[in-house]
């Protein structure tokens, strides 16, 4: 065997091994669903003017639970249609990769509710900014971390999407620091609607086109 052929063989083996470990299930439908849900939830919350911290956090926990349930049902449906196991090793790896950052986001939400319930003077002054600006942006950053971690077991675009969320969240945090000329402006619904709604929808549409192209080729 020629060394060039051996190198070629090794490259093919490497590619196949990488492909085997990748999670490829229903990414476009899940992302589009998450985007639609995020946008609808933000619009509804804005219309209902849910400004109480516990309500805001609880509302988004409920939306996240709905999103997670829907996503799992989609994954299960696809696995069932293709006669594949639902809790396959790639699915397990993606879930394990996302879990730490998502748990941190949940803990942060619970901590914020506890903090606002103290009803101290300092808490009252900063409460709208912390709950309706900092917390949503922290969620965006942590969610971006989760997506980025999952990206090591999915298509490469996921990691970039995770990074966009992380950088967007960080930029939002920097831009929202209150100054003398810029007062505290709580805009949690807009933040959630943009990052969890608009960005997800855009990425979902992008995935629909790129995934179908990949399948055709």
């Amino acid at each position: 065997m020629e060394p060039a052929v051996a190198a070629d063989h090794l490259q093919t083996i490497r590619t196949l091994m990488e492909r085997s470990a990748l999670y490829r299930r229903a990414l476009a439908p899940i992302t589009t669903y998450a985007g639609t849900l995020g946008l609808a939830a933000a619009a509804l919350g804005y219309a209902l003017s849910l400004s109480r911290p516990a309500l805001f956090v609880g509302y988004w926990f409920a939306a996240a639970a709905l999103g997670l349930t829907g996503a799992l049902l989609m994954v299960r449906r696809q696995a069932w249609q293709q006669a594949e196991p639902f809790w396959s090793p790639p699915t397990r790896r993606v879930a394990q990769a996302m879990l730490p950052a998502l748990t941190a986001g949940f803990a942060l939400g619970v901590t914020t509710i506890a903090w606002t319930e103290l009803r101290s003077e300092a808490a009252a002054e900063w409460q709208p900014w912390v709950v309706l600006t900092c917390l949503p942006l922290a969620w965006v950053i942590l969610y971006g971390c989760a997506i980025h971690a999952a990206g090591f077991y999915t298509t490469r675009g996921m990691r970039l999407f995770g990074f966009i969320l992380i950088l967007g969240g960080c930029a939002g945090l920097l831009a929202s620091i209150p100054t003398k000329t810029r007062p505290l402006t709580p805009n949690g619904w807009i933040i959630m609607g943009f990052f969890f709604g608009v960005l997800h929808l855009a990425y979902g549409v992008y995935l629909y086109f790129t995934e179908s192209k990949r399948t055709e080729s």
Binding site: M1, A6, I13, L16, M17, S20, W80
Partner: protein
């Protein structure tokens, strides 16, 4: 180049289709028949034949079960299969190394 290296290459694994199956299974604890078929774009018959050859060589184990009342066939590398696959990779690397010297 030492011709011995080439002669030592495992004939069962060296075939293109079987090498692809072994590579996929080496990176995952187990894969279903449909996952392998979809990823490697093989026909049912072709994949079945290759898996049977690998099974007869003791490199792959096949488990048949039911999921949601539908049959599910999963394949996994046996310890002997993993060892043979690692040996195959080492030999390929050896061939490349010999040429560099």
């Amino acid at each position: 180049m030492n011709p011995q290296s080439f002669l030592q290459l495992d004939r069962v694994i060296h075939e293109k289709g079987r090498l692809a199956i072994m590579s996929m299974l080496a990176a995952s604890p187990e894969l279903s028949f449909t996952e392998l078929r979809g990823a490697l774009e093989m026909t049912d018959g072709n994949l079945t034949t290759h898996i049977r050859t690998l099974q007869e060589a003791g490199y792959v184990s096949v488990t048949k079960s039911f999921q949601n009342r539908r049959p599910l066939t999963t394949c996994a590398l046996t310890p002997a299969g993993r060892k043979a696959f690692n040996n195959y990779i080492n030999l390929l690397e050896e061939i490349i190394r010999q040429n560099k010297r």
